[in-house]
């Protein structure tokens, strides 16, 4: 059994353990859930150390027949990109469990159900990044909607049911379009004599597809991923879902699940349909730039803390998509790194924001004020998270944003220049809430807010550590990501534009 499969089974095992524990012993359930997520996290890090960085082929591969009549296999494996995302997921999950220690209470159902959903979701998160069979990927891609749906609808706040339904319907619609494309792939490949869902075999498929077929199938995949990621104008579900969900759910939703969209664009759109990707690149770059600016403007205008974070994410996903479709190695490396960093900076914002909200009992930014004096540790943590979100040099997001912009500039200078305004706007949308919430006079009602306790400090410490450490020293990550990024670009038939200015002088 590949160690990837073991990794995926660990949380599921945890879910079974939680399921058999007595429902009334909430503390024991939480401990069991935390233990199994930590165990998964440690094992995930161990796998990362076993990964051979310079290898472009998939590693930890396992392939079993699943439905042979349709040439469907249970096949898993990772390249650098998938590995980084899996590590991000398994590190974030225990943090989410620890940070939101009391999130499971006050939901529609018991704490037990909450942790079962979280653990099942973790298994699916690992599976979705590890799947190298398109069919398997799709199955997990769709199935993971269900636990998220119940997490938002069952444990969220406010208009949680409506938000959950909106999320589910949007995602299902995209998923069904993707299903049509998957059926298309199956039919095209079986008409060519080798029915297959294997990602490496499908990489050859574009040579026999007509441009029209390729474009249509590409769109099926791309729209599904653009809903997931989400890209303007398919983003409207995200702010509602992020606001309604518990902070922990929102971390997993924005930090991990939405990455499935951008991951899918690289893994499936570009690898299987390189020509169609090329055709649609101008449109997608334009949409990305719009997302960057649109998300930023809405974030500036946001009055609600959670919605603000959601809008910043829309802007960030614009950067990631732009980096991907710039089709340069730097752009791809930057986008991959961005996915990782965005996971952690959003996690930090949501976790600290969640603590602020639960202490204050309100998520309106105007209700905070002067937290720097009342709760200095919490305020500093929010500040660092915010700085990471605006990509302050020295924090990890800076490296990725820089790479994305440089990578885009070599091919699409205009887009890159316009996107750079996104950075200026980012300073606004982060500094305004920082100023309103943390500084200034203490708003009445905030005088006695407690500062972070030990559990919360332990939970946030690794996130901040990651943000700072990879800001100064990103090369361990880049060493893993770069070969994978270069491989995708190369096998899709793109070459980096030569730096002409230097050659001219």
């Amino acid at each position: 059994m590949s160690s990837l499969v073991t990794l995926g089974l660990l949380p599921l095992l945890g879910a079974i353990v939680v399921a058999v524990l007595p429902s009334n012993n909430v503390l024991r359930i939480k401990q069991a859930a935390l233990a199994s997520t930590i165990l998964t996290g440690i094992f995930g890090l161990y796998i990362a150390t076993q990964f051979v960085a310079n290898e472009t082929a998939l590693q930890f591969v396992q392939k079993n027949q699943w439905i042979p009549s349709f040439s469907i296999n249970f096949s898993v494996g990772v390249d650098g990109l998938a590995l980084v995302l899996i590590v991000m997921s398994v590190v974030l999950t225990p943090i989410v469990v620890l940070a939101g220690w009391n999130e499971s209470e006050g939901g529609r159902w018991s704490a037990k159900v909450f942790y079962i959903l979280i653990l099942v979701l973790e298994t699916m998160m690992i599976g979705v990044f590890a799947a190298t069979d398109v069919f398997l990927f799709y199955v997990i891609f769709e199935a993971m909607l269900i636990p998220v749906y119940f997490l938002i609808g069952g444990y969220g706040t406010g208009e949680r049911a409506a938000a959950a339904v909106k999320f589910l319907l949007y995602s299902l619609f995209g998923g069904l379009l993707m299903l049509a494309s998957i059926i298309g792939i199956y039919v095209v490949s079986s008409n060519a004599g080798y029915a297959s869902f294997d990602i490496t075999e499908l990489a050859e498929l574009h040579t026999i597809m007509s441009p029209t077929t390729q474009n249509l199938l590409f769109l099926g995949f791309f729209i599904a991923f653009a809903i997931k990621a989400p890209l303007w104008p398919l983003h409207t579900w995200l702010p509602d879902a992020a606001k309604a969900g518990t902070p922990g759910t929102s971390v997993l939703l924005l930090g991990v699940l939405d990455k499935v969209g951008t991951f899918g664009m690289i893994r499936f759109c570009i690898t299987i349909f390189p020509d169609a990707s090329k055709t649609f690149t101008p449109v997608i770059i334009v949409l990305s730039v719009i997302s960057i600016l649109y998300g930023a403007f809405l974030a500036i205008g946001a009055r609600d803390l959670k919605r603000l974070i959601a809008y910043t994410s829309i802007s960030h996903f614009g950067f990631i998509t732009m980096g991907i479709f710039a089709m340069t190695t730097q752009g791809h490396s930057g986008a991959a790194l961005y996915m990782f960093n965005h996971g952690f900076s959003t996690a930090a914002l949501f976790i600290v924001g969640g603590w602020m909200i639960s202490r204050r009992g309100s998520s309106t930014i105007a209700d905070f004020g002067g937290l720097q004096r009342v709760t200095p540790v919490m305020a500093w943590m929010f500040f660092i998270a915010g700085m990471s979100s605006l990509a302050l040099p020295g924090l990890s997001s800076f490296v990725s944003e820089f790479l994305v912009l440089v990578g885009t500039y070599t091919r699409y200078p205009v887009a890159a220049i316009i996107a750079t305004f996104g950075i200026v706007l980012a300073a606004l949308y982060i500094l305004i809430p920082v100023q309103r919430a943390l500084h200034g006079p203490t708003t009445p009602g905030n005088e006695n807010l407690p500062d972070l306790n030990l559990r919360e400090k332990i939970a946030i410490a690794p996130v901040v550590a990651v943000i700072v450490a990879f800001g100064f020293y990103p090369s361990p990550l880049l060493n893993i990501i770069n070969p994978a990024a270069a491989h995708v670009i190369e096998s899709a038939g793109f070459t980096d534009p030569a730096p002409t200015e230097i050659a001219g002088k």
Binding site: S69, F70, I146, G153, A161, L176, L179, I183, V187, N191
Partner: protein
């Protein structure tokens, strides 16, 4: 004049004969047994007959023959699979039917009359529903193996007449039940007439009543094409009526709603299997070479059926009506398999029938559990908060709905994938797109019910979930397990269908 005695292959006819024998024993029990033992004796006889028939079917599954009863029947792999599916569904439904609370004590009495009240007060137990079910099952087994038009018509009547009666047996809401029975009977009689009319034209065209003879005439192409077209059209009307395809669906919502729910379950699942079996045989065997004449109109019917069923289902406020419209949409999906007119299409349709049939029985079985003092509660608004009251029942129902919606890890998804890929493989892109769109629409109303059950607060109006009888529990849990297993490990069943499903000509 010499008379040659027909040669009958009793071993191959035995499954049907056993069921008919069981039905006759049931009639005798009804006439002679004491009323205290009647119900259990009937249940025993019915279950024994079905199980024995199933066992015999398994024993002779590989003995194909085109002349088990002269040329009137064809016993082949596809026939075995369809008969087996009918028997499995019948077995699951019999368990539901055995819950006698839902059936009237005196079916022949005028609704609301003194006679009826007396019968109820005297706790009269009539159990005619068991032999009626067995007669219908025998008809349904005959329907997909009949290979001449007369036998097909006889089978159609044998399966329909008991169903007309059974629709009127409901204990509660007698008027609605009688209305359902009458409506079903009148419209059914019309459709039978259409069928006969078409059969006459086909005879005029080919001067043969056997499928093989019609096939020969179609292949030869010597006859009058107008006769052929009229024949195909009217025979199709008769058959499409039975599966509830648009525009021949008008009976199904009223009949589904008015009939006792156990009967609805049986009717919705088993009739579809039998009728699609017959449609598959006649179109694949007799009309295959005339596909340019009928395929375009069948494509239109399929597309309209899918979209109509899904759209109208959104507006339904009654759970049984909603399931009726959803079954119309599924008839459209199943027609996609008929249109494919290929081996994958045949396999996919049979798999879909099995998967859909079992999930349908399970879903209706759960409807029988939600009651108040006046019988079952089918008003969806009163299902609010069911998840709080009875999480397991609501969860199982939600699971069946997800299977209908075709979410991965349910049998519905594998069915949808295989049937649409078969349709697309033979060039019906329109079917694929319509199928995906209507699945997206359908997801909306399935999810609406899930929201209602889980995310709305319960209404206190006497609606309660009764504790299911042991047999109902078996039906529900078996249906759920099969739906799950066919979603996760469908390979053995798919392989079996693939190697078994052939039409002998």
């Amino acid at each position: 004049m010499t008379f040659t005695a027909p040669v009958l292959e009793y071993a191959l006819l035995a499954p049907m004969l056993i069921v008919l024998g069981g039905a006759i024993v049931g009639v005798l029990i009804e006439a002679f047994a004491r009323s205290s033992v009647r119900a259990s004796a009937q249940l025993f006889v019915s279950v024994t007959a079905i199980v024995m028939a199933l066992a015999q079917l398994v024993r002779v599954r590989n003995q194909g023959s085109t002349t088990p009863a002269m040329a009137t029947l064809t016993f082949d792999g596809a026939g075995v699979l369809l008969q087996g599916t009918v028997l499995i569904i019948a077995l699951l439904s019999i368990f539901l039917i055995s819950d006698q609370d839902n059936f009237t004590a005196a079916a022949a009495a005028v609704p609301g009359s003194q006679e009826e009240r007396e019968a109820h007060q005297a706790r009269v137990r009539t159990t005619e529903v068991f032999p009626l079910t067995l007669f219908a099952v025998a008809g349904m087994m005959l329907f997909p193996v009949a290979s001449d038009l007369i036998t097909l018509f006889v089978a159609l009547e044998v399966l329909s007449l008991p169903l007309y009666l059974m629709a009127g047996l409901s204990r509660y809401r007698r008027m609605a039940s009688q209305e359902a029975a009458l409506k079903y009977f009148l419209l059914g009689a019309f459709s039978s007439a259409f069928f006969l009319f078409g059969a006459a034209f086909l005879y005029g065209y080919s001067s043969s009543l056997t499928f093989a003879g019609i096939q020969a005439a179609v292949t030869g192409g010597a006859g009058n094409d107008v006769f052929l077209l009229i024949g195909i059209a009217f025979v199709s009307v008769g058959l499409l009526f039975k599966v509830g395809a648009f525009p021949f669906h008008a009976w199904s919502p009223d009949v589904y709603q008015g009939s006792p729910t156990a009967i609805t379950a049986f009717m919705a699942a088993a009739t579809k299997v039998a009728a699609f079996g017959a449609i598959l045989r006649i179109f694949y065997v007799s009309f295959a070479n005339a596909q340019w004449q009928w395929r375009p109109s069948l494509v239109v019917i399929a597309i309209v059926t899918m979209i109509f069923g899904s759209l109208v289902a959104i507006a339904q406020k009654d759970v049984k009506r909603m399931l009726a419209y959803s079954s119309i949409a599924h008839a459209g999906f199943l027609l996609a398999g008929v249109i494919a007119l290929s081996k994958p299409g045949l396999d996919a349709t049979i798999f879909y029938l099995l998967a859909y049939g079992i999930a349908t029985v399970g879903a209706f079985a759960i409807v029988t559990l939600i009651r108040d003092s006046a019988g079952e509660v089918t008003d969806l608004n009163r299902w609010s908060g069911l998840g709080k009251r009875s999480p397991i029942v609501a969860g199982t129902f939600a699971f069946f709905l997800l299977a209908f919606a075709g979410i991965p890890m349910t049998s519905g998804f594998i069915g949808k994938f295989s049937i649409f890929s078969a349709a697309y493989q033979t060039g019906s892109l329109a079917i694929l797109i319509a199928g995906v769109l209507s699945s997206a629409i359908a997801a909306f109303f399935y999810i609406r019910v899930i929201v209602l059950m889980f995310f709305k607060d319960p209404v206190e109006d006497g609606t309660s979930v009764v504790i299911p009888s042991a047999l109902t529990t078996i039906t529900i849990s078996l249906s759920a397990v099969v739906t799950l297993v066919l979603g996760i490990f469908p390979a053995p069943v798919i392989n079996f269908i693939q190697t078994t499903a052939i039409f002998l000509r």
